[in-house]
């Protein structure tokens, strides 16, 4: 079998232009993790259920394990490493996760943060139920979700207060 077929792709990752040659069968998550060494994107199931590998593609949440790297050609990808400000200041969601114990082992956290950053960009004032629906495709085995929901509502509030349109 021919396992060597590859393509050169160009995309933006966390604001920087990237050009790379990738095997056509490699997933976006593997490309980000192992070629770009952006290991913040985690793989929990590799079949699209757990949501740990969620990244933003052109601002929309996508499963890094269900998308091939070549499909990201010409797109703009944001990973958890791209959420904090250039000055290192945490995204309000990241800060709120710390403040509200929204993480324990931290493995699902990157996918939670990317998913929720999409939610808050769309809806700056979500209800608790809306937050729960937004992360209903992200599994967490540690927290029981309540602290994640609380963190998100607090982050939304602080973002509204500061008028931060990230």
């Amino acid at each position: 079998m021919d396992t060597t077929l590859s393509r050169t792709i160009s995309l933006k990752v966390n604001g920087s232009a990237v050009q790379a040659t990738v095997d056509v069968r490699h997933t976006l998550a593997d490309f980000l993790r192992h070629q770009l060494e952006l290991t913040g994107t985690h793989l929990g199931c590799e079949h699209g259920v757990c949501g740990a590998c969620t990244v933003l593609v052109d601002g929309r949440s996508a499963r890094g394990c269900l998308m091939l790297a070549v499909q990201a050609h010409g797109r703009e990808v944001t990973t958890v490493e791209g959420l904090a400000g250039a000055d290192g200041r945490l995204h309000p969601l990241q800060q709120a996760f710390k403040d509200h114990h929204g993480l324990q082992c931290g493995f699902c956290t990157p996918g939670m943060l990317t998913t929720l950053s999409e939610l808050l960009a769309d809806n700056p004032d979500p209800s608790e139920a809306q937050v729960r629906v937004a992360i209903s495709g992200n599994l967490c085995r540690c927290t029981g979700y309540q602290s994640i929901v609380d963190a998100t509502l607090a982050a939304a509030k602080s973002m509204r207060a500061s008028g931060a349109a990230r």
Partner: protein, 794 residues
Amino acid sequence: MSAPAVSGQAPIVDPARPGDSLIGASVPRLEDDALVTGRGRFVDDIHMPGLLQAAFVRSPHAHAAIRRIDASAALALPGVHAVYTCEDFRPYLATDRLVVGLPSSHYKQDHHRQVLAADEAVHVGEPVAIVLADSRYLAEDAATLVEVDFDPLPAVSDCRAALAADAPLVHRESPHNLLAEFDMNYGEAARVFSEAEHVFRDSFWQHRGGSHSIECRGCVARHDALEDRTTLWTSTQMPHAAARVICEVLGLHENQVRVATPDVGGGFGPKLVTYPEEICVTLAARLCGRPVKWIEDRREHFIATTQERDQYWDTEVAVDDQGRVLGIRGTIVHDHGAYTARGINLAHNSAENVPLGYEVPHYAMNVKVALTNKVPVTPVRGAGHPQGTFVMERLLDRVARELKLDRAEVRRRNMIPAAKMPYRTQLKARGGEWVTLDSGDFPACFAEALARADWNGFPARQAQARAEGRYLGIGLSNFVKGTGRGPFESVTVRIGPSGKVHVYAGAAAMGQGTRTMLSQLVAEQLGRDLSNITVTTGDTAATAMGLGGSNSRQTVVAGSSAHVAAQKVRAKVLKVAAVLLQAAEAELEIVGAEVVVNGQTARRVGLGTIARSLVGTAGYSLPGGVDAGLEATEQVLIDEMAFSSGSAVVEVEVDPETGGVTIRRLVFVHDAGRMINPMVIDGQLAGGIAHGIGNALFEWMGFDENAQPVTTNLGEYLLVTSTEMPRMELHHRESPTPGNPLGVKGVGECGVIPMTPAIMSAIEDALSPFNVRISQTPITPAQLYALIEQGRQS
């Protein structure tokens, strides 16, 4: 929930304010900065030059003889470096079995896992060969090209069927499928049952699934020829045990193997086991001369990571006219899987837990541990205790129904009164010592939960809902859980010439905030500056002895050792500082990384200076007549367990047209003794509760009659998600245990324990018009709908 820390404000604890204690403070976790920014270092994040990727060839059969293995096609694939079978490994093995079972006199036979299956595979997923290639993609391609000539044999799926006289044998060579049998007895159950006014009989099926930490297992091994040492970074809860097993199997000594844990993405029990894959990856790296990585995928997690599974209980309870329990007796058949990967502790825990929170004068439980052709069973968060609680609480509900008593009243009549604490039960723990409940006020805890949940007001709410055509129910459960299993955890506290305080612990972190907990305890004694503490856990090169993470033990055992070690270092700091500053010890205070005289900032000496003075200068004696080094190592010995306890009340709504269950309210009152970090305790409880809800309503690890697993992805095996979770109302009581210097008890597993009985109790209450009786967990909507239909027709 306790008030969380608010960012941007002053730190909760001001090191300069002596009255400010770090103990009991919800300080933000020190782990979090890296984890929220994608800078965590999990095992799959480890990369090094020359790294090869491994994939395993596994048995597709539940039971098969292996006739021949041909790797030639796999080896011909470009990018493939090696394929190793058990025969290839054998010259380098001191033994081809992982002998790990906890001691017990009850074993009838021993079945230890193979490094790789050689001529017989006994469960789907058992590893048969390891393939090394340039990438994971290639390794998986090659694994499919390894030809294994399997000759399928009859397989045993159901643990009850396993014990039938004509059952197929799980292992070809064994005499039968009974791995172990024991009786847990006290009092005179036979007499009591023959004389009792009422005897009620119930049978239960209880099932618990897998761990499903969102990070699967995985490991990376690198052999350093210069040091003649192989390092294994592995996602484990017990690195010291892993190093010991690797040394035993590979015939190496302690200096030749180092096991270290990177960030671990959840454990929940199964990661306390040392696995064949860890042996294979370590040996493969030594043989091929290049580092090797293996990362488990989710399907492998379903078929090759240990899990809890089935227990079948037949039980009887004897009571008097007042609903007072006179005795409980019965039998358990426990599904053990194909090998002993931990012991028979799970079944022991289940049988021991039944009478734990109540006064049960007579008890007799016969336990049979049955082999099946399935992946081995070992503890998952809760470790058999939820099953015991389920049985007790279901039986008490039965008593209430039969005697027409309030379910809460039946509990009150049987609970252990606070005045009887400490309460020596008539049970013996697995180590042979008496089980003694150390502290707590169970009736008060229960009363608080009922009051907070408005138990007494519920019938009115229920009646109102029923008038609207809705079916509400309320349920309850108490529990007691032994935590903090000893005998010790090893902790060293050392202040370096830099002035930093280093903590090295045999504990292992897997997301529970171990670093924060140890930092709080040590900082409390040594300057109260959390940023001045470093913590190293889960590294056999840093601590010679360690037991690691299991049984909700780390705050109890590692916390106690850290506390005492830090106190000893503190005493030494003050003694030497008194000499250096020419002041009395009583005048000194440690503030941040300095010792200050009476708060006068002019008279001070740094912790680093004190440490330097104790590392010695050739020809000069040490100040203050102390011994060398500014450090202390402690293994506080704790043999008796600390018993956490609590009460849960749950309100559900059931849709009788679909069998769907919605949890509308959840009150949980918990007593884990003295609290170190209430925020973290809330988090541990909440996660456990979610796990328990999954065990009640969602999680089912299915196998067909040939022991083929039928739920091998997260679409078929359901974990609870955010939309099924109710808002949890968590409340705490603090009954410090006298069993350790901190008064702390464990909390990691406690949320799980009462959830299945509380939920089943609530569902039955909601469906009382249909006379629904639930004798199983989990229960799916389809199963519940069938019970409702049955009730409608009768």
